[in-house]
């Protein structure tokens, strides 16, 4: 299951990443393995998405979200 496959309101726990470069940036932003993420909304045009992670709201493109694999 990838983060990009979650619907609004659904939660998941980050397991690993498929893109090393992206993972470095995501982890810096508090999106680490073991962290709970919740999709809080999807942009009106379907992309990007906003997720709730480590206490704040982060937006990222679907392509970027698809590099995050959930447990």
């Amino acid at each position: 299951m990838r983060l990009s496959q979650l619907e609004v309101g659904e939660t998941g726990i980050v397991k690993e990443f498929t893109d090393l470069e992206m993972s470095v940036k995501l982890m810096e932003m508090g999106c680490l393995p073991g962290e709970e993420v919740r999709v809080s909304r999807i942009a009106p045009l379907g992309d990007p998405i906003a997720i709730h992670v480590s206490g704040y709201q982060l937006s990222l493109r679907k392509r970027e979200a698809s590099t995050i694999i959930l447990q």
């Binding site: 470095v24 909304r41 009106p44 709201q57 937006s59």
Partner: protein
């Protein structure tokens, strides 16, 4: 003023860093540029309780010392480069108390550089509201640094922070956060020996960032590269394990010092607002309403102060002409330089208004929602969600709009936005279009309600937007990206704007424009003024002598005579000569030498076209009184008796003005924003080529 201490403010974006900077320094601020890059360098003086003066440096907000963009890379070079004149003696790390976890990552990195650190815990009020309880003493003990709870917005805890700065240690006493050496033991040791850095984390950062750091010599950088190969160092893998180690330190730290009850209240309010503002339909309606409002304000509200500024300069020029002895020097100063200065000052209202709005949008957190909503469409054409604001602002004026592209982090997106913004129909084109449309488009209604003239004008506006988007799309393939295009972006909690920051931003931008772009604009206007006011040889004298003859003075009244003289002088000036000279080039576009002169004189500002036409056709006229110019242009005939301004010529001219970069201020501001003459040069070249082609095609299609 004597500077006793240099203090850098470091923190994540949206932590209230600039608010704190404004509170600490008041009006003692200086805004410049970091050398070679277009990042605002804000410094200011803060008076400490013991009478010493601290220089405060506001560094760009960043989430990590590993930069995502060029702006962020400044932070590490200022902190680490020993030869940098801004290198701080003390770093104040600002942490958002309501979001400590992510904020602490940057703290741990800065702390490991072993520069003396103080922590300012900002937004304590917000944290309290969200039921976050922080044991500040335990927190400070664990970190080994002074921790000062503050609220920059409410100006609470600032005195305590100033005291902490005053009594700060000269030596770094903070606890280690992670075992840095374990990340790459041999490499760190070897770099430490060869480049002579004592601090292991500094050595590690050099390994990661040596390619972009300007303070390393090429030899040093190459040596680090060799060492990386020798010890098979993988930068991203090392960064990943470092970040994981740091978060595990942070989790331990927070576990002992922070307690939090679930469902933070502020989040839910923000969430409710987001439900409306990023709604599928309302979101766009509200956004376009806001854009329309901003556009309307730049357009309408700025008109009055702009008129005041223009009137003031006219008055000043008139007065000086009366007071000073007439002569070439007076004329140069009063007509040339003051004229140019007036052309600079007149932009201030538009710049201030646009930046007022942008600052409000940024401050409230709405700007990142705009990016969030618009990203998908804008990305397709090579732009950024944030490009919408400069593009729409371009309908009023490209100058403030190009300045506003600074908040686009991605280099490529920003450059493309800068390159296409001047294509959007700005208010200076309006008088040109109005004049030409009135000349050739019949005043008739189609389908009862649509006036043809109105349709033509609307058409020009829409056409400009289409051409801007098309050019952006093409540039997407031409420009090479400097950094990988991330979108990972925080959506901050909605807040009320801080009016002081808004005021600061309006003032700063206007000042930066006048001081930095002003020089170029004045220089260009003076050159153009000389070209239009002087002619080769004794031509001007001969004209004056000619019209002193009774056959002119007796048959024409003084006003008409002056018009005729002015017209003939312009024709015989250097600008006139140039107009004649370029006629073969512009003939295929349907333009004669008279239009050529107008193209040259309006080189610095498009609206000058109308005034030049008035002078050439020897009538009194400016942007407000165009009827008389229109009349003259309407009846103007070529030598063979055909009218000069046919529909083909008028539309060809409009196409020319739609594309050509006839604006010295834009050129100057593009230079200021890109710090490289190649950008304005390339922009000027492509716009001129497009203008020529579009005019040529239009003329030959309609002829």
């Amino acid at each position: 003023m004597n500077i006793d201490l240099k203090v850098a403010l470091v923190g994540n974006p949206n932590t209230g860093k600039s608010t704190l900077f404004n509170v600490l320094t008041g009006l003692n601020q200086k805004i410049g540029n970091f050398p070679g890059v277009t990042i605002d360098k804000k410094t200011g003086i803060c008076d400490l309780p013991d009478g010493r003066h601290a220089q405060i440096i506001d560094l760009p907000g960043t989430y990590s010392l590993y930069p995502k963009s060029r702006d962020e890379s400044i932070v590490f070079s200022v902190l680490a480069d020993r030869s940098n004149p801004l290198r701080p003696d003390l770093v104040v790390v600002i942490l958002d108390a309501s979001n400590l976890k992510r904020n602490l990552l940057l703290y741990t990195q800065v702390a490991d550089l072993k520069i003396p650190v103080i922590v300012a815990l900002n937004m304590m009020d917000l944290a309290k509201k969200s039921d976050i309880i922080i044991d500040v003493d335990a927190f400070a003990r664990k970190l080994g640094v002074p921790v000062v709870p503050i609220s920059a917005r409410k100006i609470e805890g600032i005195d305590k922070l100033k005291q902490a700065i005053t009594f700060a240690n000269k030596f770094a006493l903070q606890e280690d956060t992670i075992d840095v050496e374990a990340l790459a033991p041999q490499l760190i040791a070897q770099i430490g020996r060869e480049i002579e850095v004592e601090n292991p984390y500094f050595a590690l950062q050099l390994a990661h960032q040596h390619e972009t750091l300007t303070f390393l010599t090429p030899a040093q950088s190459n040596r680090i590269e060799e060492l990386e190969h020798e010890f098979s160092f993988h930068s991203q893998k090392a960064q990943a394990s470092e970040t994981i180690a740091r978060y595990s330190f942070i989790n331990d730290l927070l576990y002992d010092t922070v307690t939090k009850k679930e469902t933070a209240q502020d989040q839910t309010i923000s969430n409710k607002i987001d439900k409306i503002l990023t709604h599928k339909t309302f979101g766009f309606i509200i956004f376009f309403a806001i854009l329309l409002f901003i556009f309307q304000s730049i357009f309408a509200w700025s008109a009055y102060p702009m008129q005041l500024i223009a009137d003031f300069f006219v008055w000043l020029q008139g007065t000086l002409h009366r007071l000073l002895p007439s002569g070439p020097l007076t004329s140069l100063v009063v007509d040339g330089v003051l004229g140019g200065l007036s052309g600079v000052m007149v932009f201030i209202p538009q710049i201030a208004i646009l930046f007022g709005f942008i600052s409000i949008l940024e401050d409230t957190g709405y700007m990142s929602r705009v990016t969030f909503m618009m990203d998908r469409i804008m990305r397709k054409v090579g732009l950024n969600g944030k490009s919408v604001v400069p593009l729409i602002g371009g309908f009023a004026c490209a100058v403030p709009s190009i300045m506003s592209t600074r908040n686009i982090e991605n280099w490529k997106d920003r450059m493309i936005t800068i390159m296409v913004t001047p294509l959007v129909t700005c208010s200076a084109r309006l008088p040109v279009y109005t004049l030409l449309i009135a000349l050739v488009v019949p005043d008739r209604n189609v389908w009862w309600i649509f006036n043809m003239k109105g349709l033509a004008l609307t058409g020009m506006y829409l056409f400009s937007l289409v051409s801007a988007v098309t050019v952006a799309f093409v540039m997407k393939f031409i420009l090479k990206a400097r950094e990988r295009g991330y979108f990972i972006m925080e959506l901050p909690v909605y807040r009320m704007p801080r009016w002081k920051n808004v005021g600061h931003s309006m003032y700063d931008r206007a000042k930066a424009f006048v001081l930095q772009a002003g020089k170029v604009i004045i220089a260009v206007s003076v050159i153009l003024w000389v070209l239009a006011s002087y002619g080769p040889g004794d031509r001007f004298q001969r004209i004056e002598d000619k019209y002193k003859q009774p056959r002119y003075t007796q048959h024409l009244n003084a006003v008409d005579l002056n018009h005729v003289i002015a017209s003939e002088k312009l024709e015989n000036s250097y600008a006139g000569a140039l107009g004649h000279a370029i006629e073969p080039v512009i003939r295929p576009l349907g333009f004669d030498w008279k239009i050529g002169i107008a193209l040259i004189t309006s080189f610095a500002a498009r609206e000058v076209f109308v005034g030049t036409m008035a002078t050439i056709y020897s009538v009194d006229g400016d942007a407000e009184k165009i009827e008389s110019v229109q009349q003259k242009m309407h009846t103007a005939k070529n030598q063979d008796g055909t009218p000069v301004f046919t529909a083909a010529v008028a539309f060809s001219l409009m196409m020319f003005y739609a594309f050509a970069m006839q604006c010295a201020s834009t050129v100057a501001v593009v230079y200021r924003e890109t710090k490289n003459w190649r950008w304005p040069a390339a922009q000027f070249a492509y716009m001129t080529v497009l203008a020529y082609l579009a005019s040529f095609i239009t003329y030959h299609l309609l002829k």
